[in-house]
Symmetry: C2
Subunit: 263 residues, 2 copies
Amino acid sequence: VKVGVFDSGVGGITVLTALRKLLPAIDFVYLGDTANVPYGTKSSGQVVRLSLDAVSELRDRGVGALVVACNTASSVALPSIESAMRGIPVLGVVEPGAEAAVHAFRSAPEGGEILILATRATVRSGAYRKAIEELAELSGEHPPVVDEQECPLLVPMIEEGWLDHPILAATVREYVSKWARSSSPGVALLGCTHYPWIQTAIERALPGWTVVNSAQVVAEAFRARLGRDALHQLEQAPVGAIEWLFTDPHAVPAFAQDWISKA
Amino acid sequence: VKVGVFDSGVGGITVLTALRKLLPAIDFVYLGDTANVPYGTKSSGQVVRLSLDAVSELRDRGVGALVVACNTASSVALPSIESAMRGIPVLGVVEPGAEAAVHAFRSAPEGGEILILATRATVRSGAYRKAIEELAELSGEHPPVVDEQECPLLVPMIEEGWLDHPILAATVREYVSKWARSSSPGVALLGCTHYPWIQTAIERALPGWTVVNSAQVVAEAFRARLGRDALHQLEQAPVGAIEWLFTDPHAVPAFAQDWISKA
């Protein structure tokens, strides 16, 4: 039985990499909705519709669990996806991401704040802010200051393969300029599964800030969520290869094809 | 009876403006597939599917004629759209655009070449190159040199409203750098209906070149295509207002909303 990993495009590969590293005896099937990427500039109704179409394909293939690696889908469509998966365990990336950000924030020398970098749809959902506030409430601590910045052009640029391009770097600087000048650097969370591909550009644009990639935390949360018995089930007779599904195979960017052929 | 204008997003508004100016007594219904923009980075199969979904909506509303204002849809889906419209006159933008480019080329003082700036899907279709070669064959002239440049990030930037942004200008310069250095400037055709929104940036990046916006030529070709009788039919009892349809109304960019509210 395979574990499904669903993303709007190729960004979720960063989460899949972390999952494979932590759980090498599990088989994965990756579904990238390349026919409809980007999700982050679409309305929430449209993101819900597209997410349900995509995950029904994984449900019909009988996956034993599902990781929603796309932040936009996790932010606005998780309850709908959970119903559609009919009892199969589903993990989104927002809660683990919020935990990773709060953890890094507590360990940071200076107070500062938490800055969420994400797509427009994720920011508008307020999902990260809500998750961080709930974590603070649970721990009885004073909630950190949370700021959010929409970065709608980063996904198209990444899908375009402009990972090391000066225009990508200039666009990142434009989006974070307000915080780059801050006297007390804080924690910046990569709130979109595409952004780890350009983590270096983001770190350069935010000197002194702790930049958090939640991929590893998501993998750990997935292991914890399933528990030992369910994991044991999933680890029966793995094939060892990743199955790749793309709703538009001709729209998979070249840099991701390279990565896939080596995976 | 209304005339349908179909585009992948808000780019087709440039064509609609030219149509209204030339044919003020005709009513238009504009359909922007904002749920699925951009088309230009998708495979041709996907563009055909989305175009057919979109135009079936216009057919069901009983439009009397259809202008496919989207260059990507015109390049790869025009025959399919024509069948789907069942005899209703359909005009794409590629043939009129190619004519406008060839006309400007013949009037240009220096020879140079014709450069098509377009989306990836339009360039890969080779539709403009083919149309220009056919025009040369018809006139018995030596065909002009045609070059094509994919500009996949311009539509997302325009939909983002970065019309006067320095990063848009830098991206345009990046795409045309090879031709900006040419010793014999030629004719650059805006082969995507979004690009007239940024015509100034393109003209600045290509000093000495003639930049051709095909919107007006498309309107003229539409009038010629229909003929006097059909036009007379369409000009009966106009309401005078444009009907606006968007597959994702929440994804209409702010700059276009301003324009629509004034139209």
